[in-house]
């Protein structure tokens, strides 16, 4: 019962943040509502027994990435967005499309409800950091090393793109 109440609270926070992201016209308001979405997703990860992921969701997503976004919004002095004809076509075609997609996926999930089972808050140590660390540094060592190259390339790309041409 407590689990269900907590899930509903965090899920409503998530959806409210996402809807507010769409409603706001100023990007800084959208960025702050995305922080709400990410923080409540971290709490939902905790309900699913993923402590490590909840921590890095807050640190990496709500912390680092969103600070980068807010920094760029401040740097470019971004104002409120202007509506144009392109967005009206997207409104006519996109809203029914996304609605159909959402209803379809939701219907599939509800019809397979028995098969999927349910989630319980268990006292097991599933999702603890040392299990993930063992998996990451033993079974997924090569992908882990490749991502370090990826990040290096991303840093160099960001520096090259952001540099002022002289």
């Amino acid at each position: 019962m407590v689990h269900q109440i907590l899930f509903i609270i965090f899920a409503l926070m998530c959806v409210a943040g996402a809807v507010n992201l769409l409603r706001q016209s100023h990007p800084i308001n959208s960025a702050l509502s995305l922080v709400v979405v990410m923080a409540s997703l971290a709490l939902i990860y905790l309900l699913l027994g993923a402590e490590f992921l909840a921590a890095i969701q807050v640190i990496v997503y709500a912390g680092a990435i969103m600070v980068l976004f807010v920094f760029v919004i401040m740097l470019l002095n971004a104002g409120a967005e202007e509506r144009s004809t392109g967005s009206r076509i997207a409104l006519i075609v996109g809203v029914p499309g996304a609605l159909v997609l959402g209803v379809l996926v939701g219907w599939i999930m509800i019809s397979n409800n028995k098969l999927l089972g349910s989630v319980a808050i268990s006292p097991t140590d599933f999702g603890e950091t040392h299990f993930i660390a063992r998996l990451l540094f033993r079974d997924f060592l090569l992908p882990f090393e490749v991502t370090s190259v990826l990040i290096l390339i991303a840093i160099m790309g960001a520096v090259v793109l952001g540099r002022k041409e002289s």
Partner: protein
Amino acid sequence: MVPLSWYLILSAVLFCLGVLGFLLKRNIITIFMSIELMLNAVNLTFVAFANYWNAHGGLLPSGKPVVGLSGHVFVFFVMVVAAAEAAVGLAIIIAVFRTRETLNVDRVNLLKL
């Protein structure tokens, strides 16, 4: 006890809101934030199914929780790639803004900077 389908439906709702934001918003930074929202929705699916595998005995014969925790490792990699993508994408936005003086995607209709 919460049905797993609730988590998956929440994920689908967040993904659809991300798609809507991508289609409706005209500000390039907000469009980029919608992409992050979609990535988060997919991450939630990964974590939910990791929990499902764990509940259904996702253990290899050696006792390692490989199958169950693989979902967590995938989310880890998605976060790494999202961070790299955010750095490069925001650098591109700054480069576009420097030449166009606008963040409206309707006015950014040429591939050249």
